[in-house]
């Protein structure tokens, strides 16, 4: 019985897994995708690779989404049992303040900040996690230095939209699972790759691509939408479909791949936005692996990235999955 993408997203966003600590989410993804592929393995970097063999000896295609989320790491514990942290990935102190978190050990806590007069003072140096311990020794019974925590929050649906922490990039992972679940016989060999440390670096994509050695790759990530006050100046909105990325902070989109994606989207009347942004994702490291991998980024528009309440549109996610399925059903020839 196939799980709906929304159910899949509920499941995925509930699994703990900041950068470098993806064992649990890798297991969940591995179990979810296993019925639909021929081989599942983990590489030396911790990336999860699931391969569905092709029928027609055609191309080897890599689809990738990163399975880690942002979080924070314990660096010092005070005599009072308060844990001092540094961010893992782009977690900002002002988004971390006041949030409930869960640690790898299962312990729960809250992130709080010294009282402030001026918003400019907000920084991780003045933030701590309180797990209810009254001394350093007591804290160490539950947390060790190097332990990580992530912000908790249950996924909530609001009509066509969903909100919660970690949609970056569990939404991308859900899209990949959806594609795997609906991909019937395909001429191409499809490698579903869930990368490690997409939020720090990004790092995993390059090692994954080295091992997989694909002919081409599609990266599915979330993109900052520009449709709220003082958002980045990007012409990407929620609910208008996935976005093809032309450029970001360290990656130039491969022209042949962009044209291919646009052609297929147009052929199947899938609304597709165009994105030129800052930031970075696995595309750069994937594209420079080996002799080079023509790579396209298909982004899911998202508001409020990096917060406890990120927001994406379910139809956009379906559009991304649909587009990938149509691409895989095509000959994938670039002009």
């Amino acid at each position: 019985m196939k799980t709906s993408m929304l159910e899949q997203l509920h499941q995925l966003t509930a699994v703990w897994g900041p950068a470098g600590r993806e064992q649990k989410i890798a297991r969940t993804l591995g179990e979810a995708i296993e019925p639909f592929v021929d081989e599942v393995r983990t590489d030396g970097f911790g990336n999860l690779v699931a391969i569905k063999r092709g029928t027609g000896g055609s191309k080897r295609v890599m689809l990738t989404a990163h399975m880690d989320t942002i979080g924070a790491i314990a660096m010092n514990i005070s005599d009072k049992g308060l844990i001092h942290l540094e961010p893992v990935g782009g977690l900002k102190a002002w988004n971390a303040m006041g949030q409930r978190v869960v640690w790898g050990s299962g312990a729960v806590g809250v992130l709080q900040h010294e009282s402030i007069d001026d918003g400019k003072e907000i920084s991780f140096k003045k933030l701590w996690c309180d797990i209810g311990a009254t001394s350093r020794e007591e804290a160490l019974e539950n947390i060790r230095l190097g332990e990580m925590c992530t912000v908790v929050g249950e996924l909530q649906q609001m009509g066509d939209f969903v909100t919660g922490p970690g949609l970056d990039d569990r939404a991308g992972c859900a899209v990949l699972l959806e594609v795997a679940g609906h991909l019937e016989a395909c001429a191409h060999e499809v490698c579903f790759v869930f990368t490690s440390q997409g939020e720090t670096g990004p790092r995993g994509g390059g090692t994954a691509a080295f091992g997989v050695n694909p002919d081409m790759a599609f990266v599915v990530d979330v993109a900052a939408a520009g449709d709220v006050p003082r958002a980045p100046r990007v012409d990407v909105k929620l609910g208008k479909g996935p976005a093809i990325k032309l450029k970001d902070g360290n990656y130039m989109g491969h022209v042949g791949m962009i044209d291919l994606v646009r052609r297929v989207a147009e052929e199947h009347a899938i609304p597709l936005q165009t994105e030129i942004a800052a930031g970075s994702n696995d595309a750069q490291v994937v594209s420079v692996a080996g002799q080079g991998v023509p790579t396209a980024v298909i982004d899911i528009p998202a508001r409020y990235r990096g917060t406890a309440a990120e927001m994406v549109s379910l139809p956009d996610m379906h559009g991304a999955a649909d587009l990938l399925l149509k691409l895989l059903g095509s000959d994938l020839d670039m002009e």
Binding site: Q23, G44, M75, E86, L145, R203
Partner: protein, 342 residues
């Protein structure tokens, strides 16, 4: 003492030959094979066992090189690696591996305005003075653009345990690696000692070594900052000199492989080895270059705490250094016994 000779040896990033030659000579009786590669890494192999372990330490130190020679015979400098400008004025240096003495001068205090006295002298105003009269005399000494310039620091003991010297980052790591290679055999392991180059300019040599060796697991051995000194909040000390080797938590270049990290901690506890953690994310180590090679290599960094690294003279506690040797040794025993597989 090997650390003494390593610390006194000179080798900025890209010109590590003196350090390489010293290590080659020291290690020859203890290893089965030795070779170098295109970036000057010195790789040694000991044993032929089924599990491949790479221990990494970098041979380069931060320092300066000659940018240009003025008509009057002064040397304008460029920095190799990250250095604090405040440690330069009034410093003695050696130019080239011949160690031609020079000084980094500063305008007499008496002649400075009140404003100048309060400021750090900008690096582009620094220069080295050999005492030469003109450019020709400098060139006759064999000095040219690119020639290395080192801190003229000689190793010494401050006490039985605490020693002073330059380049403990990463001659401390090299000493730890050399000691491990010299003291024990591990027949169940193919042990590679990778004395790599150019860490200070971007983790360069380590990437190449790791790609070539493709080990099952690796440990990077570093010298890291330590600031348990007057006026520093206990949370900001990074590591505490005297409290044992430091196992990294996370840095700018890498998140240690969790299984390797956990095994190092387990082995330290099981063998009563005093250890601590490196409590800062800033900075990078060779783990960052190693972890990304091929399909990924499990790796973690173990560091010897050093006060005042990246200056002309650092301090370290030999107990910490030998603690690192001990920790690595027991980790290797665990790998050999089959207790741990990455």
């Amino acid at each position: 003492m090997l650390l003494e000779r390593l610390s006194n040896a000179c080798g900025i990033s890209g010109l590590e030959h003196e350090v390489r030659d010293l290590l080659r000579q020291e290690l020859a009786p203890y290893v089965d094979e030795m070779w170098t590669d295109a970036i000057g890494n010195l790789i040694v192999r000991k044993g032929n066992g089924p599990v491949k372990v790479m221990l990494d330490a970098h041979t380069d130190e931060v320092g300066y090189c000659v940018g240009s020679i003025t008509e009057d015979g002064y040397l304008r400098l460029k920095k190799i690696g990250g250095l604090d400008d405040r440690v330069l004025p009034g410093r003695q240096v050696w130019v080239t591996n011949q160690r031609i003495p020079a000084v980094l001068g500063a305008k007499a205090w008496h002649l400075c305005s009140a404003d100048e006295r309060g400021k750090v002298i900008p690096f582009d105003q620094m220069y080295a003075d050999l005492g030469c009269k003109d450019r020709a005399e400098v060139e006759e000494l064999g000095i040219e653009p690119g020639s290395p310039v080192y801190f003229a620091t000689t190793f010494e003991h401050f006490s039985d345990k605490v020693v002073k010297g330059k380049a403990f980052d990463d001659r401390a790591g090299c000493a730890v690696l050399a000691e491990v290679l010299m003291k024990h055999n591990y027949p169940g392991i193919t042990l590679y000692g990778a004395f790599v180059t150019q860490e200070e300019v971007g983790l360069r040599g380590a990437r190449i070594a790791a790609y070539n060796l493709n080990p099952d697991v690796a440990i990077a051995l570093e010298g890291t900052g330590s600031a348990n000194v007057a006026g520093v909040d206990p949370f900001d000390t990074i590591t505490n000199m005297g409290e044992g080797p430091a196992i990294s938590l996370m840095d700018n270049s890498a998140i240690p492989n969790l299984r390797v990290w956990e095994e190092l901690v387990r082995v330290a506890k099981a063998n009563n080895i005093k250890y601590q953690h490196r409590r800062i994310v800033g900075g990078g180590t060779d783990s960052g270059g190693i972890s990304l090679q091929r399909s990924g290599i499990p790796v973690c960094t173990v560091s010897t705490p050093c006060r005042y690294i990246h200056t002309h003279a650092a301090l370290l506690n030999l107990d910490d250094l030998y603690g690192a040797v001990n920790l690595v040794h027991h980790f290797l025993l665990s790998v050999e016994k089959g207790d741990f597989r990455p």
